[in-house]
Amino acid sequence: MADGHSLALDETGMTVPAENSGTKRLHVMIMIAIALALLAAPFFVYPVFIMKCLCFALFALAFNLLLGYGGLLSFGHAAYFGMASYVSAYGAASWKLPPELAILSGVAVATLLGAAFGALAIRRQGIYFAMITLALAQMVYFFSLQTPEFTGGEDGIQGFSRGFLLGIIDLASDRNLYWVVAAIFMASLLGVYRIVHSPFGEVCKAIRDNEPRAISLGYSVNRYKLTIFVLSAALAGLAGAVKAIVFQLATLTDVHWSMSGEAVLMTLVGGVGTIFGPIVGSFVIVAMQNYLAGLGGWVTVVQGAIFVVCVLTFRDGIIGALAKLIRKPL
């Protein structure tokens, strides 16, 4: 084919452009829009509500990093979220750690836990991988249940003070805390974007698409899988740790398997494998839980129904469907 002719086959379905410079500009604009929305939001909406959304959005971003870009479906992300929540709450309550150190220690523990669990889980694929992550997360749940001196058992750890960030900013004020949480969220979002669009991210996407081929090109795929697993666990830990400081609360709910389910739900509703999908998904789910709280136990039923409708009608999620519509990755 030195003479430049290509294979004489059909030309159908060849019009979808992938990433190009226009896509990059669109992404920059969306990032700026999100930043502006974060700046304006506390003047219109109750800050604690937005902070709750942002914590779950972080959690969903972490889950989606692993599933959407690493192709690994974890059913145990509650372990990292919940354990980081406990550790930072415990640090703030018992050791009187300043909030930044409490959060960092939570993230550190989640990272270590992710490294240990990831090393075990990546040895298997598909449903077996998911089952191992779930089983390990259940072990963390029962550990939390059995060690009330650390976790506070059924009561959890609560009623501690949020403290002063860097010793100066009083986080007892919701408004102050909001700016901190918004900054953490924005930085994490940019971080995830960078990971996905890094040389490492390119390899992860290749492994997700076709693992045997990546092996045959000479990649040691397990090292990439473990790295993205640990990055995802660390980010899930950050979500849990920030949540603990915001609500001054860490309970068994945070490590329960249904918390892992929330991450799956939010990501699927928003759009798996999209940058912005998990954020939209978490706002939708948290808003729904908030505004439908009057329905009591029926919230779960409504949530389940939405999930089913989502999977049946637009499998790519809200943002995934939108991306198809405008023919650009989001």
Binding site: S6, P199, E202, V203, I215, S216
Partner: protein, 254 residues
Amino acid sequence: MKPDIVLLASGLTKQFGGFTAVGGVDLQVRRGSIHALIGPNGAGKTTCFNLLTKFLIPTSGTILFNGKDITRDNASEIARKGLVRSFQISAVFPKLTVQNNVRIALQRKGGDSFDFWRSSSVLRKLDGQVEQLLEAVGLSSFRHILAGELSYGRKRALEIATTLALDPEMMLLDEPMAGMGREDVERIASLIRRVSAGRTILMVEHNLSVVSSLCDRITVLARGKVLAEGDYATVSGNPLVVEAYIGTGGSHGH
């Protein structure tokens, strides 16, 4: 001085439970040759191929590549040593662009594949090489298309470009013509002939007319054993080979 035999397998055996898929196969692939592995369905070609590329662990036997024992290496290690395989079912990364499919192969040698904190724009330095490789297989105008949207024949061409990106000393092609129309078969055959310059190729292939025109040496497998070996004339004249093909339900040639 590198040995004349680039790939040497001796006594290669693979058992699945009680079933012997490959039993004591000896194979010598000469440097710079295009060597074909043929045989009727169930002869153990694909198993043999997977053993040579380390996607299966042999029950017994040894494999030497350039005189070095690679029997215990894993699949990604041998790829880094210059022994790169293709797959029977077209092996592209469907959700990456055509351009990025090739770039992934080039990227590994750069040593920055774990850099998650850098922008992938550092990979632009590879664009020139990517372009050359796409040019070579006639896919330049498809560079921004997602690989999953390419037609079957173009996926195979892309796969060859990706394999070539590693500049492997030896390429192992698993049925490169499977499922192709005649026109594509000719194009891929001429592509293989062109890329064989300066390297060794071992291919599993059903299409006997392709094998006859393309390959220097042919090894015929039947029931997990080597039945015959030699150039096309020798092999096709061998009564055992004729019998093996007819005896298992007809010719696979055209």
